[in-house]
Structure formats: C-alpha cells, structure tokens
Symmetry: C2
Subunit: 189 residues, 2 copies
DNA sequence: TTTTACTCTTGATAAAAATCAAGAAGTTAT
DNA sequence: ATAACTTCTTGATTTTTATCAAGAGTAAAA
C-alpha cells in the first residue's frame, strides 16, 4: 500500500477496492529542486499528493515574496481555483528540494466521479476539511502576536525549522526574518 | 423567485425545476437582534442563506473577542465543522440586527443529494469557492499593513461602516478599534 | 580552492500598532 | 427626560515589529 493509499484509507471511508481504483489514476512524478509545479498566471491542471520533499507556495508582489504555505509529505498540492474554476493562479509553487508526487491530471480527476459514485462526496468533505484549516489560520493571524504564532507553529512543525530557509517560515507566519530570528533567540534563553 | 433562488441560479448551472426543489427545503426563519444562531461548544445542525440583517461570527478568548466574519445578505451562515464532521464549534454566531434567513436542517440538507444527482458536485464547487476566498484573506493578513487592509476592505464594503460597530470591523481586519479610528481620520484629511 | 551567493544573526533606529485613560456622542432603558 | 450603557475618538505612552546595515557562517559555483 502506497502512502497515498494509506492516506485515502485513513481519511475517507472507502473500500479497499475503491482505494486502489482511485490511486491507480495517480502517476508517480518528480520535481527537481528549484523546479516549478506551477507559475503565477498559469491555469493549474493537476493535483498531486505530496510523497516526499518540500514545496513552497508563494505570491510574488512588487515589494516582496509572500510565502503562503510550505507543503510537506502528506499534503495535496494544487491550485483549487485552477482545477475547479479554470482560473489562472496567482501562486508560484516551487520545489525547495527534490520531490516525489503522486499526480493526476484535472481531466482524469474529473472522471473519477463516473467510476466511484461516492467520489464527489469525498471531495466535498476533503475540501471542507481544508476550509476549516484555513479558518483556524485566519483566527491565528487575527488574534495572536508574532511570538504566539511562532510558538504555535514551532510546536506543530518542529522538523521544518531544520529543513526550510527560515525566511520562508517567517513570511508564512506573517513576520520578517529578523523578527523570527529574535524570537528564536529569546526562546533559547 | 426568492433571493435564495436567484443566488442558486446565478452561481450554479441548475435547471429552474431543480432550483425550486432545492429552495423548497429551506424555511424562512428569523433572528432577533442579540439572538444566537450558534454558541461555542454546540454542534451546528443547520445551514442558512442570509436574506436580511447583520450577523457576527466571533471567537471568545480569555483576553478578547475576535470577530472572524460579519455576514450580510447573500452569504451562507453555518459552521462547516459542525454540519460536515459533527464537531462542536468554537464560534459564536450572533445577530447584530433583526435577521431573516432561509434555513435548512443538516438532516434535510444531507438528503438533497438523493433527489438532485448534481448536488454533491455543486456543494463541492461552492465550498471550493469559499476556500479560495479564505486563501485571499490569508494573503491579505500576511502581506498588508493595517492601513492597506482598511483601504481594501473599505473599497469593497463601504456600506458596512454605517451599520456595524466599528470595533467589530477592526477585529475582523486584525487591528484595534483605536487603530481603525485613526486610519479613518487620516483618510478624511 | 577561491569566489560568489545565500542565509541567518545582531545592533541601531524608525515606524507601526497596542495599550491606557479620559471624554464626547449617541442609544437604550427606566 | 434622565440615567446607564455603548461606542467612538483622541492624546500620551509603551510595546511590538519593520527597516536598514553590517558581518558571520554555509553552501554552491567557478
């Protein structure tokens, strides 16, 4: 059983038969460090389950790059506006390290529903879960200080601090690299 | 045609017949000013289309109340974690004015899919739209100063400033009421 | 290896935003 | 109408966070 199959199994109540059907639509693909999964302006036409490596999602504004998210093993990588509404993305999605992904094209993705009746419902639940995740993130940004955001993130994602340039983590937490650096120092003392 | 039917019509490609079927599941309900649609700790078991009035969604922390969202006509009001995953909510949802809502119970909501095959797909698209909306909000909170957030919000929601206590708008934009007050003053000069 | 990029840290300073406190205006209740 | 609440504003001050600048450490490239 692949990690993708394990994921589907643990998050959705689907029969083993359906799991292997679903996962058979996905192809193992790779990205080399620095490669772009998607560039701003493109219309995303694929969905990937993140098997290994690190990926950064960011927006390039005139003034700065804003890291919206850093993906690690176990997340899905895509641009929802692209695969659902065929809209060009504002995000750049780039591999920070060599990566392995299980990837499906939007066309195939949209056909799964024909073979697996429960599919749309599973999709719905999955997106709903993502929605509540973002809700929590907004609450964090609205209500917490930089120090509190750092603490919370650090507790949940310790590993990332050794693997990802800290400036990206800082941006994703809504602070400058200098501020993050000082918070880290203060924590040690 | 009710505003709910108009909404369904404009956002989803559904036949007029299906529209009236869908909307027939919704009942017109009212909230009086101050009434709670939902209180923290409860499991949300309804979904409402907001017809008139104003509703505030907030989290009560030990230190302060954090306004997550202010709903006006045309939005849906619910707690997704409740209706999708049967989880208790952390939100308080309270009427700021007398309100009219088209409301459906979760049980009925979950039955619509039996009568309208496309339903799950519509739901999925609707939630996906909400997801991208939150993505944009996170980007705003990560990348903009208080002044920029105020400006952007003001451009899109001018009306709200006359109808809602400004302290709630301030909280929703991630700033204190004093800061919002000063930004407003500066804008006039 | 040497050079060239990055990345992170640190200090000094400036800017932004929060806090505290008081008072003015407007609402609601009695 | 008066009193009791709220809400908003304003000023003074403090705290938080960003900006600017320089240097140290690391990794990658020539």
């Amino acid at each position: 059983m692949t990690v993708l199959e394990q994921y589907i199994h643990s998050y959705f109540g689907v029969t083993l038969d359906d799991i292997s059907k679903i996962s058979s639509y996905f192809q193992l693909t790779t990205l080399n460090k620095g490669d772009y999964f998607l560039k701003a302006g493109q219309i995303c036409n694929k969905l990937s389950f993140h098997k290994s490596g690190l990926i950064r999602v960011y927006v390039a504004t005139e003034k700065k790059e804003v890291t919206q998210w850093i993906s690690t093993q176990g997340y899905f990588v895509t641009d929802l506006a692209g695969i659902m509404f065929n809209k060009p993305t504002k995000y750049n999605i780039q591999a920070l390290t060599d990566c392995e992904l299980y990837t499906i094209k939007t066309d195939d993705y949209n056909r799964i529903g024909n073979f697996i009746p429960k599919w749309h419902q599973l999709e719905k639940l999955f997106i709903a879960r993502c929605f509540t995740f973002l809700e929590d993130r907004i609450f964090m940004l609205l209500s917490m200080t930089a120090a509190e955001r750092y603490k919370l993130f650090f507790e949940n994602q310790k590993e990332l601090f050794n693997q990802v340039p800290l400036q990206y983590i800082a941006s994703m937490l809504g602070m400058t690299p200098e501020t993050l650096s000082r918070l880290r120092k203060k924590k040690l003392e």
